[in-house]
């Protein structure tokens, strides 16, 4: 049974499902239309200039998705393309930037300044812990990160907006005294709430037809983002027989059962890097800024250069 057959509405989001079948390969168009409705709560993997799921992002843009609620820690090109293309209504994020190239995430910045998107700020570790809490099925994780700062004090979404939306926790975060006294040399913690995205998009090096996925090199928070989500779309450089990946199960971070769609998408992270397959493309990333300044309305012009859909 395909996971899609079990989809039903849940508080306005998509109900979590699980799929133990062994054949989940589909094309990108099908995967995105099935699992990413308008208004979905979405998270995307990767970090700044590395392993952003760009093929899937461009497909979201082609399908003119709107009203997305985006969760990101430090995401660069993927976030900027989605925001710049008008797909995103709200975003919870720690950092928008690509590194030394187009470090300003210009379309994200512009959208925030013009209030075209609502933004709420966290730190990288807070976002990581929030995905981890979602993956672990607990409502929050404790940390000392950002105590005393405006990250704690200033909320991006109002209390009223939170309370009227069952897909948002009622509090941005909660500061609490340590109930174990000063255990772990900690007097106070901030509890950051779990994120449960409707869908997480990842680009990985290798995936099996059953959804088993292998990331090579830095994993960032991809594993936590996938395990936190109700649905997972994995795009991959190499589509493999599951048995090949299963012969070394300790190298696979993503078990097949949490994956809904596997898409073969060579160069699917381009223009960001995919370790052992290709580096980021500095020329593309350098061109992005002036091209956007000249032709802000044409986000689809660029991706054609690489994977030509």
């Amino acid at each position: 049974m395909l996971a899609i057959d079990r989809l039903h509405s849940n508080q306005g989001g998509m109900a979590p499902t699980m799929d133990t079948s062994t054949e989940k390969v589909m094309d990108l168009h099908a995967a995105v239309s099935r699992f990413v409705p308008d208004g979905a709560h979405l998270s995307i993997g990767g970090f700044t200039c590395n392993r952003n799921p760009m093929a899937a992002v461009y497909e979201l843009i082609r399908q003119k998705k709107t009203g997305l609620h985006l969760y990101a820690h430090s995401n660069g090109q993927g976030v900027d393309e989605l925001v710049g293309s008008g797909c995103v209504a709200r975003i919870e994020i720690a950092y928008a930037g690509t590194g030394r190239f187009a470090p300003t995430c210009i379309r994200f910045r512009k959208a925030v300044e013009s209030r075209a998107v609502a933004v709420e700020d966290y730190s990288n570790y807070q976002m990581t812990l929030r995905f981890l809490a979602g993956a672990m099925g607990v409502p929050f994780m404790p940390t000392r990160s950002a105590l005393g700062t405006d990250i704690i004090r200033r909320w991006g979404f109002s209390e009223q907006e939170r309370r009227s939306d069952p897909r948002l926790p009622d509090e941005k975060l909660v500061v609490m005294d340590n109930p174990f006294g000063a255990w772990a040399e900690t007097e106070r913690v901030v509890l950051v709430p779990a994120i449960r995205p409707d869908v997480t998009l990842l680009h990985v090096q290798k995936a099996g037809r059953d959804g088993t996925a292998r990331i090579e090199g830095l994993t960032f928070a991809d594993v936590e983002q996938a395990k936190a989500a109700s649905h997972v779309i994995v795009t991959c450089e190499e589509l493999m027989d599951a048995g090949e990946l299963r012969s070394q199960p300790h190298l696979n971070q993503i078990p097949g059962i949490i994956v809904d769609a596997v898409v073969h998408a060579p160069h699917g992270a381009y223009p960001t890097a995919c370790y052992r397959y290709y580096d980021y493309d500095p020329a593309f990333l350098n061109d992005y800024l002036p091209v956007l300044r000249l032709r802000p309305g044409l986000p689809e012009r660029l991706p054609h250069r690489s994977h030509g859909r």
Partner: protein, 256 residues
């Protein structure tokens, strides 16, 4: 005395601040140069970590971002964000970390803004955001901050407090529940600033050759104690040789 540019001076000034046996949390750019140079100058047993998960990187080529696959080269262990920040929050390892940060605004207590200029709800200018900076500034025992020395950047009050410095003074961090210490130095294109051990307020520790204490002050919205200021000892020939021949021979970060 050899010629050098501001970036070289900043990298050397920061490298000198790194102690042997410390863990250096690196961002992108000049902080990587400082960390790499320190290993060749005075801190051979210091190690380099990245928030993206590389622990004890050997850095053969200079990465262009902390997400660059090049940060993994020769690491002792390589995982992801969760492990990397846990290492900083853990008091055994975290208290040995020196974090190198940058920001758009800084106040006299070393509090940093990398989020917005103007009101948070109606920003005049939006920046990239905290990234891992708020985490590092919350967890580790000391930070070194790179800044461009401009009046709009050294401000009386940051528009948004992204990363905690000493907050509102000596007891600020403890009151907020933070365990580590705050910033130990600011390194700009004009000067090295310290923080007073009692008041935790910024003071001028050293001004770069070719400038003056007053000229530094002219580039700041708030005033600082100048009484301890001395001229910074310029980079030695040996330090410059390390920087130019070992650390960044292609001058990717050092520039032209």
């Amino acid at each position: 005395m050899p010629d050098y540019n501001a970036r070289e001076l900043m990298a050397v000034a920061a490298a000198r601040k790194i102690n042997d046996g410390e863990i250096v949390f690196c961002g992108t750019g000049i902080s990587m140069l400082a960390a790499m140079a320190a290993k060749h100058i005075s801190a051979p047993n210091s190690i380099i970590i990245f928030e993206t998960g590389a622990i004890d990187s050997q850095l053969e080529e200079i990465p262009m971002a902390v997400g660059d696959p090049r940060v993994m080269y020769g690491a002792s262990s390589n995982t992801g964000l969760a492990d990397s920040f846990a290492l900083m929050q853990n008091r055994t390892t975290g208290r040995h970390v020196v974090g190198i940060l940058g920001a758009a605004q800084i106040d006299k207590f070393g509090n940093l803004n990398s989020t917005v200029v103007g009101d948070y709800a109606h920003p005049k200018v939006r920046f990239s955001g905290s990234g891992g900076a708020a985490d590092v500034a919350s967890f580790v025992d000391r930070t070194i901050i790179f800044m461009q020395h401009e009046r709009r950047k050294f401000v009386s009050k940051v528009d948004y407090l992204t990363s905690p410095g000493w907050l509102d003074g000596p007891a600020g961090r403890r009151r907020a529940g933070l365990t580590g210490s705050g910033p130990s130095a600011v390194i700009s294109n004009l000067a090295v600033m310290g923080f007073d051990a009692d008041s935790r307020e910024m003071f001028l520790e050293a001004y770069f050759p070719g400038t003056t204490p007053q000229a530094v002050l002219d580039h700041m919205e708030f005033s600082v104690d100048l009484s301890r200021a001395r001229e910074l000892e310029p980079p030695t020939a040996a330090e410059l040789k390390i920087l130019r021949e070992i650390v960044d021979p292609q001058r990717l970060i050092l520039g032209g």
